[in-house]
Symmetry: C2
Subunit: 314 residues, 2 copies
């Protein structure tokens, strides 16, 4: 029989520290070429606009293969529904039997994206950041902040959003969190006080430029998960001392770093996969004054790892 796992069960059993460890292993396996990840499947819709993507694959030697389906329908909030949804299928890799269906409503995708942000911060941010800067005010921005609590002791936060009222709502919504959150009226206020910065917006034009970035800053950008999206100006990659990505192959196609590659501001050998940094932390930040950046486009190995962890934890 196929096990059906609901979101409440998933949230109950998942240990964030285990997720972070499991993603580290996943990124490392990916960079070592031990993960089979075929090209992502896509469906696009109009009236109303929406999309569906299918990410799937398996780790060599694993007992399971995983198929993740994620949907995004951006007008859903108009009818009182969240814009993201989805589920994850886990199959037995020796028999093809569907072992489990995780009806996570897209939450695991949000969680593994936030957990990847935590992994990037762990290896690339200063050991004692003075302030966390959150760019964006949506679900992913909130989850990125929540997951940072597992890898840094810093609790000083500034949040900025295009709509300052949404930033204020973000601040109020996290009143119960361990963080001390202030709203930054301008992006420059955020850059002045924060050295661990996460950008989690659906922006289609660069929000962050090289000139804004002080020495010692780390920036993780997670918004550019498909063509046409961009949060970091290409010059950021030229200026940065360390440019980490989750997948070089994917960042050839899209992601913030793809613009820097295409404009010739950097060459591909400047991009270091997170999995290589996990295995060899010396490839990450080497001094308090370096500028580091992580471009996370999202890879199926994250879905594979978090789904397997859910099943192991049940």
């Amino acid at each position: 029989m196929t096990r059906i796992v609901l979101l409440e069960q998933i949230k109950k059993v998942l240990d964030p520290l285990q997720v972070i460890r499991s993603l580290e292993e996943g990124f490392a396996a990916y960079s070592e070429g031990r993960v089979t990840v075929p090209p992502v499947g896509h469906l696009y819709f109009d009236e109303p606009p929406g999309d569906c993507h299918i990410k799937y694959g398996y780790l060599g030697g694993s007992d399971a293969f995983v198929i993740k389906v994620a949907t995004g329908f951006y007008r859903n909030p108009d009818i009182g529904l969240p814009s993201s949804n989805g589920l994850i299928l886990v199959f037995n890799r020796r028999t093809g039997n569907p072992e489990a269906i995780l009806l996570d409503q897209g939450w695991l995708t949000d969680a593994r994206t936030a957990a990847a942000g935590a992994v990037a911060a762990k290896y690339l941010a200063r050991s004692k950041p003075q302030g966390i800067g959150i760019i964006g005010t949506g679900t992913q921005a909130r989850m990125q902040l929540e997951w940072l609590s597992y890898v840094t002791a810093c609790r000083e936060v500034k949040v900025w959003g295009r709509d300052i009222q949404k930033a204020e709502l973000f601040r109020r919504g996290m009143a119960e969190s361990p963080f001390s959150i202030r709203v930054a009226p301008h992006l420059d206020d955020l850059f002045a006080d924060c050295d661990l910065i996460i950008s989690a917006t659906p922006s289609r034009e660069p929000l962050i430029h090289a000139g804004q970035i002080r020495p010692g800053t780390h920036i993780t950008a997670v918004g550019a998960d498909g063509g046409g999206k961009q949060e970091l100006d290409a010059t950021v990659f030229e200026k940065a001392d360390v440019c980490a990505v989750d997948s070089v192959a994917q960042c050839r196609e899209y992601g913030d770093s793809s613009y820097a590659l295409r404009r010739g501001l950097i060459t591909e050998d400047k991009l270091i996969e997170l999995g290589r940094i996990v295995r060899n932390p010396g490839l990450g930040r080497r001094s308090e004054e370096q500028i580091t950046v992580a471009d996370l486009t999202g890879v199926a190995v994250q879905d594979i790892q978090i789904a397997k962890l859910v099943l192991e934890s049940l």
Copy 2:
């Protein structure tokens, strides 16, 4: 909430005549360019050997999109499991919500393949066949015969398999069916008595050659659903008066007709999609003496149609 539908429920509600009608509509929509079907996703495994494919898409104007996952692990019978498995996901096309999961264990794939054979026979076989010939002795061979009962009154059957004992088991296993079944010791015996022939084997080399085929014969081949598989020799397509396929695009890549195309024995304009014949039956058989052939490789629109029908029938 997402509805979970089990195989027993599916078998209970599905009306074969409605399936056949629904597939006819699906094939027609496909041939009219009204179906979005991205390339099939594949995963391959070894130790033990197996594969997984993901077929997905939607009909223009439909309320649903469908993702079908099918697995094949051919050593499963050694450990008492069926070799095929799978499930179908049905999503709301306007919100991305997963509306239903059909835990059909691969049965719907078998059923829609058999139903497509019935559609081909309906439009291409003689109106009153003298005998049905079944080549192959597995699950799909049995289901092809069962589904033919909805489109022809003929009940005289000959079955042939490489292993005559399996053919005998096939005959005995269908003792309760309305068919009168005899085992053909040689393939030529089958061709001598039968004019509505279905080939449903996993053969990787041609079993059927042009010289064996008498005037008036119709042959449907369903086994060549991937590269390297072949049941009909390329000369069969050269000899046939009508060459039907489910998808010309797919038959460029694989399927029995792909060998005839590649050898230059026919050109693509000899291949007529089943959907065009459904809309214009004059493109099918035009006399009792014509030889007709149907090369069915399996297209996602069949999965889409049968999944939607299950949900409508519940």
